[in-house]
């Protein structure tokens, strides 16, 4: 090959445009592309290592996704009954401020007085009982709700069968039916009562407490508190002030009124204190483990490529390209981990929902987006370590044989 043709080839290397704006835009795009390209080649050059790293990050991300979904499910479902009760006010035994954790008892003789309060449209009474149901080798947590025939406080979302129950019948939650293998028409042994399943409701559990809807007299019999009821569900007339009705209820000895939203908030707070806070600690640990994995992987990869980065520095790569490459690797690794983690979490969520609904994970688009952003932001902290190393890479390394 002649030297003339060599020179000819070299002289072809010229900028593609003379317009300053075009040149600047192309240069910026080119540098970003260079950073991404180097990052991509570093990743795909060691596929096994990066695959294992992405899997490890995926496990951490899966834990975060799944547990945050569990947290969302616990929080949402803990107030499902209150939210769907249709009542504006709940009347409970004085001193009882929640639905799920306390056993309220109101004398039935007070109900006509409550009904007579100006502004009250209707009063429905319910009897609730917490318990454990030994079934199919499991002790499943249940929440029995006795409601008046034709009244409010019964099941609100039916999968199959009937929503109304006569004495000796029950509507059970889908989760309980799934775990116990029960269908409409099957028999259910509820404590000392043998019931027939009249219907199966959906979304009627309270953070794993499966709701069983029965007739009011049956619930009273289970509760063993005579003719008393647990709560009175009040609907108000249009224009009636809840505060005025509450004041009137509070004037009746032994009871007090709670706005539905307040009762829900109290239940939610109790659930958060009992279950959600420990869950969030585990989520935090998973997040930290994920960041540490990302930091170790990115740091070791950067250290191993120190020579390459020294070459780039010597040639004239600016900090933007160097750091951009590290950040790009971090983002790609994090996205791979996130997608893997989300896929496994979604699969786990489906498995639990379908076969073991005692524990569920609500992976909504909003939650997925929020968790992804948090995980990505946390993982970006991991890139500080490699960037610190890159700052210290000595371009003179290139002269070492």
């Amino acid at each position: 090959m002649g030297d003339d043709s060599l020179l000819e080839g070299i002289l072809q290397v010229r900028p593609t445009s003379n317009d300053p704006d075009t040149v600047r835009a192309e240069a910026w795009r080119g540098r970003v592309a260079a950073a991404l390209f180097i990052a991509w080649r570093n990743l795909t050059g060691e596929r096994r290592r990066w695959g294992i790293s992405a899997a490890a990050l995926g496990i951490a991300a899966c834990l975060v996704f799944f547990l945050e979904g569990v947290s969302a499910w616990i929080t949402d479902s803990s107030t499902a009954y209150v939210d769907h009760s249709g009542a504006r006010l709940f009347v409970a035994e004085r001193g009882i401020d929640d639905l799920l954790f306390a056993q309220s008892s109101i004398s039935r003789t007070l109900l006509p007085r409550i009904q007579a309060i100006p502004g009250v449209a209707s009063v429905a009474s319910v009897v609730t009982v917490n318990g454990l149901l030994p079934i199919s080798g499991n002790h499943l947590p249940i929440y029995v709700v006795g409601f008046e025939a034709g009244g409010r406080g019964g099941p609100w979302n039916l999968d199959s069968g009937s929503a109304s129950v006569s004495s000796g019948q029950a509507v059970i939650d889908r989760g309980l039916a799934t775990i116990a293998g029960l269908r409409v028409g099957n028999a259910l042994q509820l404590f000392s009562h043998r019931l027939t399943i009249a219907g199966i409701s959906n979304g009627t559990d309270a953070a794993g407490d499966f709701l069983i809807f029965v007739s009011l007299p049956l619930a009273q019999s289970i509760a063993g508190q005579g003719d008393a009821v647990s709560y009175a569900l009040l609907q108000l007339r249009p224009g009636a002030a809840a505060s005025a009705v509450s004041s009137a209820v509070n004037a009746i000895p032994g009871v007090h009124a709670l706005e539905t939203a307040d009762l829900a908030a109290n239940d939610r707070a109790a659930i958060v204190d009992s279950f959600d806070r420990p869950l969030q600690i585990i989520v935090l640990v998973a997040l930290v483990v994920g960041v540490l994995i990302a930091a170790i992987v990115l740091y070791t990869a950067t250290v191993e490529h120190s020579r390459d980065y020294a070459v780039l520095k010597a040639i004239g790569a600016g900090p933007g390209v160097m750091y951009g490459s590290a950040v790009a690797q971090c983002v790609v690794l994090s996205i791979c981990g996130l997608l893997l983690g989300l896929a496994v979490a979604a699969a786990l969520s489906f498995v639990f929902f379908t076969w073991y609904p005692l524990l569920q994970s609500e992976l909504t688009p909003g939650l997925i987006g929020a968790v992804s952003l948090v995980v990505l932001a946390a993982n970006l902290c991991a890139v500080l370590l490699p960037i610190r190393h890159l700052r210290r890479v000595d371009p003179q390394e290139v002269f070492k044989a």
Binding site: M1, D3, D4, S5, L6, L7, E8, G9, I10, L11, Q12, V13, R14, P15, T16, V23, E26, A27, W28, R29, G30, R31, A33, A34, F37, I38, R41, N42, T44, G45, R307, D308, V311, L312, K313, A314, I315, G316, A317, G318, V321, P395, Q396, V398, F399, K400, A401
Partner: protein, 230 residues
């Protein structure tokens, strides 16, 4: 006007009684199209000197200008200037193992912001000019030493620099391959009007140089300019 002007370059490593002076008061000038051979034994300060000229190492004292611009490694715009102006050729090639030959050569262009659609053909063209047309898509691991050095040379030349700094460019090559590499390098320097500094301990390269300076214990020896055979 000289493309490279270095004067009074001194570099001291360490402090106090442990201080070592690697280069002491070195001054050189290289014209466009000139090939200067810096000849010296191992430890004579050749690499330190070329590092300072290339803006990779800050001199303890003295100054360097390339194409009229003072070289200051602490200047944030220095990498961009080096990218446009200086091409490096290294003893150990320093190719990026995860990139193909074409991609390696395209790196300086990509760093300058040349889009891939333009950079890749330019890099391939350069490799073809250097006789590596059938090695474009191979990674450095499967290339011979001579091929790797030609890729390294292509990378140094592809950005159309004003200066080539070559550090022991033939040290990792056999005699014939080394001669071919230095022949290509010096031919390019002369034809492209590049100022070329070749640092070596190999006296057999003298015949490729326009001028030779001897370096010993960090000093350029006075009156030690070797006549170059015509």
């Amino acid at each position: 006007m000289s493309v490279i002007v270095a004067s009074g370059l001194t570099r001291v490593f360490g402090r106090g009684p442990n201080a070592v002076t690697a280069v002491r008061g070195a001054g050189i000038q290289v014209e466009a199209g000139e090939v200067l051979l810096l000849l010296g034994p191992s430890g004579s300060g050749k690499t330190t000197l070329v590092s300072m000229i290339g803006g990779l190492l800050t001199p303890t004292s003295g100054s360097v200008t390339i194409a009229g611009r003072t070289i200051d490694p602490a200047d944030p715009s220095m990498p961009a200037f080096r990218l446009r102006t200086v091409g490096f050729v290294f003893q150990s090639f320093n190719l990026l193992a995860s990139l193909t030959a074409t991609e390696n050569v395209a790196v300086p262009l990509r760093l300058r912001g040349v889009p891939r659609r333009h950079a890749s053909p330019q890099a391939a063209s350069m490799l073809e000019q250097l006789g590596l047309g059938d090695r474009l898509h191979l990674k450095p691991g499967v290339l011979s030493g001579g091929e790797r050095q030609r890729v390294s040379l292509a990378r140094a030349l592809v950005g159309d620099p004003r200066v080539i700094l070559a550090d022991e460019p033939t040290a990792s090559l056999d005699t014939a391959t080394g001669r071919e590499a230095i022949r290509l390098l010096t031919a390019r320097a002369r034809q492209g009007g590049l100022a070329c500094v070749v640092v070596t301990h190999d006296t057999r390269l003298i015949e490729f140089a326009d001028r030779v300076l001897h370096l010993e214990d960090g000093r350029i020896l006075e009156g030690a300019e070797t006549p170059v055979p015509v």
